[in-house]
């Protein structure tokens, strides 16, 4: 009993931190209807600025923290003004991807400026603690709680009692009506981002106090917890952020205390998926939010807003299609590449790019054609890779690759349906969260299901694939693997283009463009969305199996959420729903990564800048969306 209460207290302590991080998401989501992936980076920057002022420049801690918070607020404001406002008239997916690119740029810049080392963070209050049962609370916990309550009280008063606050809320409810009433909608949005930056800066300083240290990669894991807390509490509800954070903390502490610490993330993401499924508006959220598609309607007729559609009607540039003769020429060039390549390194790199291309095709079908943007594809990909790796290392080393691909693909399809099951009833940006959670759950399972996946030990020494139709030839040479990947890609492209061009593909687009109309015309929308996830999952599984054979050693670390982001970037670069674009995007991005190797430390930043530039200046991708 003492232990149970102690664990609940432990949960409230960490939940406090999550709540603080959740407020920033809630604000931006409520007003700008946008999941701000850069929120995690904002608190990293806030923490590092405070560290710089307090430790490196020796300013008093309170002054250092205030300066850091002010600068982070300005950064939030600047991000909106410089990068997000120009995208307002672009496709709905563009701002989301822009925040992703900005997150990469900020995180990497922090590493360049302050080095990747963990830094000690001054935390004078941390030494004051009180024992309660078998747990303890510290003065930092109280400070965080106090700051959280004060922030919420101030925000609530600001939003309800001031004219600017009313204007912000009006913007959140109906930007067009607000504009007609004379509200400067753009300025209100910028202000929201400024406040989000402010709250992010405060969060960064408090996280520094809590852990007595800061490290540059803390943005993603803590950011995800902030999202989760925000969704639990209900997006758009500020008190919900606190309740969501505390609830998440308590669930995690109980999972840690009674199941084991390695299960805490798994439990957190399962909880998130369940909430999205059962009560997508969260505990305190409003059902009316556009981004939530107004929750579940009868027959699953959620009025989808196609992520590619822009809220303003603009003339769409025609998507570039590949004439058959060019396709044939490219195929011939690709097939003979190992014969004229400068060395086999490039054959290996291009071969890997082809494997990524298959994954990109898989994602472009579900995200582009069916309009369900998935950031869980790394998990589905990993399922395919693990199935191939486990079968060929443990059970049948000479298993024909045709059979491996079929089995890995089927497992991928199953994983896809699992992710789709939760996503199919949602719409807008919340689909992104559901698939993110599904991907993280798959990753966590790979990590903890040791008897099957060997957990973090990974599966290694994966044998070369054996080609059944040629009587069991082992494909271990680089160019043989390359040709295998090329052949599978060609087949995948053929099948995918046939499916997209068929009635099924047309119905996917119908569901994407206007789900309500599709349902009214008798289209079983959920069934078609699930079909898209299954098809996409199958292709992702096939790609995963090839990946396992290419790299010969896999571990959960190969299927991080960062890989999902990378593939999404590839697909956006090529143009959502554009098969040729997906292939081209994969090759360009993998080649760019290789060329940028010379830039060393600046590689990832440059990559983020390239992505941001594409989103800013050619939001429909290089070849246009379809």
């Amino acid at each position: 009993m003492t232990d149970l209460l102690s664990q609940i207290l432990n949960g409230l302590a960490i939940g406090n931190v999550y709540a603080m991080l959740a407020i920033g998401f809630v604000l931006v989501f409520g007003v700008a209807n946008l999941i701000n992936f850069a929120q995690g980076s904002l608190f990293v920057v806030g923490g590092y600025l405070a560290y710089t002022f307090a430790v490196l420049l020796g300013l008093p801690l309170a002054l250092a923290a205030s300066l850091a918070v002010a600068l982070t607020a300005l950064l939030g404001l600047g991000i909106d003004r410089a990068f997000l406002r120009p995208l307002e008239r672009g496709p709905r997916i563009a701002p989301l991807l822009a925040t992703l690119a900005i997150a990469v740029i900020l995180d990497e810049t922090v590493q360049l400026v302050w080095s990747p080392d963990t830094k000690p963070f001054p935390s004078p209050l941390a030494s004051t603690t009180w024992q309660l049962g078998n747990a303890y609370i510290s003065a930092v916990d109280l400070l965080i709680l106090g700051t959280g309550i004060a922030t919420i009280a101030t925000l609530t008063l600001f939003l309800s009692r001031t004219w600017i606050g009313r204007a912000v809320r009006a913007t959140a409810m109906d930007p067009e009506a607000a504009q007609q009433m004379g509200v400067n909608v753009a300025a209100m949005r910028s202000l929201t981002f400024g406040i989000a930056g402010l709250v992010g800066g405060i969060g960064g300083v408090l996280v520094g106090f809590y852990y007595q240290s800061i490290w540059p990669t803390m943005g993603i894991p803590l950011g995800i917890k902030g999202f989760t807390a925000a969704l639990l509490g209900g997006i758009g509800s500020i008190p919900g952020a606190i309740v969501g954070g505390l609830l998440l903390g308590v669930f995690e502490a109980l999972a840690s205390g009674y199941l084991g610490s390695i299960y805490r993330n798994l439990i957190a993401y399962v909880l998130l998926l369940l909430v999205l499924f059962l009560r997508p508006q969260g505990l305190f959220g409003s059902r009316g939010l556009d981004a939530l598609g107004g929750a579940q309607a009868a027959g699953g007729a959620v009025p989808t807003t196609s992520l590619m559609a822009s809220p303003f009607q603009t003339a769409e540039p025609p998507a570039i299609t590949t004439p058959w003769w060019l396709a044939a020429l490219l195929l011939a060039a690709a097939a003979t590449f190992p014969l004229w390549a400068p060395d086999s390194t490039w054959v290996h790199i291009l071969g890997l790019a082809l494997v990524y291309a298959i994954l990109a095709v898989s994602l472009t079908v579900v995200a582009g054609t069916a309009g369900q943007v998935s950031v869980g594809h790394a998990g589905i990909w990993g399922v395919g890779a693990y199935v191939a790796a486990i079968l060929t290392t443990r059970y049948w080393p000479g298993m024909p690759i045709e059979l491996t691909l079929l089995l890995a693909g089927s497992a991928g399809a199953l994983a896809g349906v699992l992710a789709g099951f939760f996503a199919a009833r949602l719409s807008g940006h919340v689909i992104v969260m559901a698939t993110l959670a599904a991907g993280l759950i798959l990753y966590s399972v790979m990590l903890v299901w040791i008897p099957v996946t060997r957990g973090p030990m990974g599966v290694f020494a994966i044998p070369p694939p054996v080609l059944g139709i040629l009587g069991g030839v082992e494909l271990w040479r680089t160019e043989q693997l390359y040709w295998l990947a090329l052949a599978v890609l060609a087949l995948v492209l053929l099948v995918a283009s046939r499916v997209i061009g068929s009635d099924v593909g047309r119905l996917w687009r119908a569901v994407r463009e206007d789900r309500l109309a599709a349902v009214a015309s008798g289209v079983p929308a959920i069934r078609y969305v699930l079909m898209a996830f299954a098809f996409s999952g199958f292709l992702a599984g096939v790609s995963g199996a090839l990946y396992a054979h290419f790299v010969t050693a896999i571990s959960p670390g190969s299927f991080l959420v960062l890989v999902s982001f990378q593939i999404l970037a590839i697909v956006v670069l090529g143009g959502l729903g554009n098969l040729t674009g997906a292939v081209l995007g994969a090759i360009v991005l993998i080649a760019v990564t290789e060329v940028l190797r010379g830039f060393g430390d600046y590689r990832m930043v440059t990559y983020g800048v390239i992505l941001l530039a594409v989103i800013m200046f050619r939001p429909r991708g290089l070849l246009g969306s379809r």
Partner: protein, 375 residues
């Protein structure tokens, strides 16, 4: 002052002589390490130590009369990158051996490529028990947990007399192997393991496990984690007012552990293979040079990377000393045949699978410094 100028002039003169006499083909070694990303701290440690040693070797006349050269690539600790880099290295006939990478999985992804091409892959830090089993070209310069962990268990049970032990470990290949081998030996010696908790590498909230620890009340806590998160665990233990003997793994032997942990890590018992306070003149020279140049404390990751260069150089000298041509295959043979290499991280000898064997030095943290434990 005058002496120093003279010494500098002398060194410059020697270097000039050396460079004219060795105006031959350089010996090229590839380095694959995470210079950016989550493991960049460790990768950059490698790079600094390796650059330093290569410069020292070249200033002293090179290897077998030829200058030593390092080609470096950033792999972000990512399997896709290490395999691409491995392809490039094996295709470059100039590269005779490779150091890298940092973590086991990406190193093991690249290993079959090096093995097939017959290139020695010397991983300074790979701890995965199966890494060297991939082939006879795979070597490591860190003692595996099969060798280290039972020795730590011996110390905890026999020297400290612990009857009940709680183990916390990182949920990765290294942590599982460390805790598994520790527990097996400790139980063999009659101690009881009251709890064995695993943590994901991103975990920074240890309060739930501290609550468990308080109600189980073991004699000793054994921590098998990396120093960044272990320092946070130590602070949370201190905040909880728990005063328990803590025995760590060699990974905690890093000055940053004290910088990050502060008072909270006082009294922790830390095993090490490399100790900069070691009076051995080799070690002192390395520490002085490294800290003088980079202005950061020399840690064990720097030491094992520094020694990795020395080991390869010694193997190449061994080949040349026998009057043979320095080839990839000859270097591999020499790794087994040469005399044990006396480096800054201890005397390194390779057993038949390519695992290194070294002795443990017991340290404790006193007044913010590592000191040799009085026993």
């Amino acid at each position: 002052m005058r002496m120093k100028t003279l010494a500098l002039a002398l060194a410059a003169g020697l270097a000039a002589v050396a460079s004219t006499s060795v105006a031959q083909e350089p010996i090229v070694i590839g380095l694959s390490a995470p210079l950016t990303g989550d493991y960049a701290e460790y990768g950059n440690n490698f790079k600094r130590a390796i650059d330093l040693h290569v410069e020292q070797i070249n200033a002293a006349g090179g290897v077998a009369g030829r200058p030593l050269e390092i080609v470096e690539s950033d792999d972000r600790s990512d399997s896709a990158q290490t395999t691409a880099i491995a392809q490039r290295y094996v295709n470059d006939p100039e590269i005779l051996a490779v150091i890298g990478s940092f973590a086991s999985t990406p190193s093991m992804a690249a290993a079959p490529i090096y093995q097939r091409a017959g290139v020695v892959q010397l991983c300074p830090s790979c701890s995965h028990p199966d890494y060297t089993k991939i082939g006879e070209f795979m070597f490591r310069n860190t003692t595996t947990q099969q060798i280290e962990a039972p020795a730590i268990a011996d110390f905890v049970v026999e020297d400290l007399g612990a009857k009940t032990i709680m183990v916390v470990h990182r949920q990765d290949d290294w942590g599982l192997s460390a805790s598994g081998n520790f527990i097996a030996r400790a139980e063999e010696l009659g101690a009881e393991i009251v709890a064995n908790e695993a943590f994901l590498e991103t975990e920074r909230d240890f309060r739930p496990v501290i609550t468990q620890l308080r109600s189980l009340d073991p004699d000793v806590l054994h921590v098998a984690m990396f120093f960044t998160e272990a320092a946070i665990l130590a602070q949370q233990l201190q905040a909880a007012g728990i005063d328990i003997p803590v025995v760590t793994t060699t990974s905690m032997f890093n000055p940053q552990y004290i910088v990050l942990g502060g008072e909270a890590v006082e009294g922790h018992i830390v095993p090490a293979t490399f100790f900069p306070g070691n009076p051995d003149p080799n070690v002192q020279a390395f520490v002085e040079e490294y800290e003088g140049r980079y202005d950061i404390a020399a840690d064990s990751f720097a030491a094992i990377a520094y020694d990795s260069v020395g080991i390869l150089a010694a193997a190449i000298e061994h080949v040349a000393g026998q009057g043979q041509e320095v080839t990839r295959a000859a270097i591999q043979k020499a790794m087994f045949e040469m005399e044990p290499y006396a480096g800054v991280s201890g005397v390194a000898a390779f057993n038949e699978v390519g695992d290194v064997v070294k002795e443990i030095t017991w340290l404790t943290i006193e007044n913010g410094e590592f000191t040799v434990l009085e026993r």
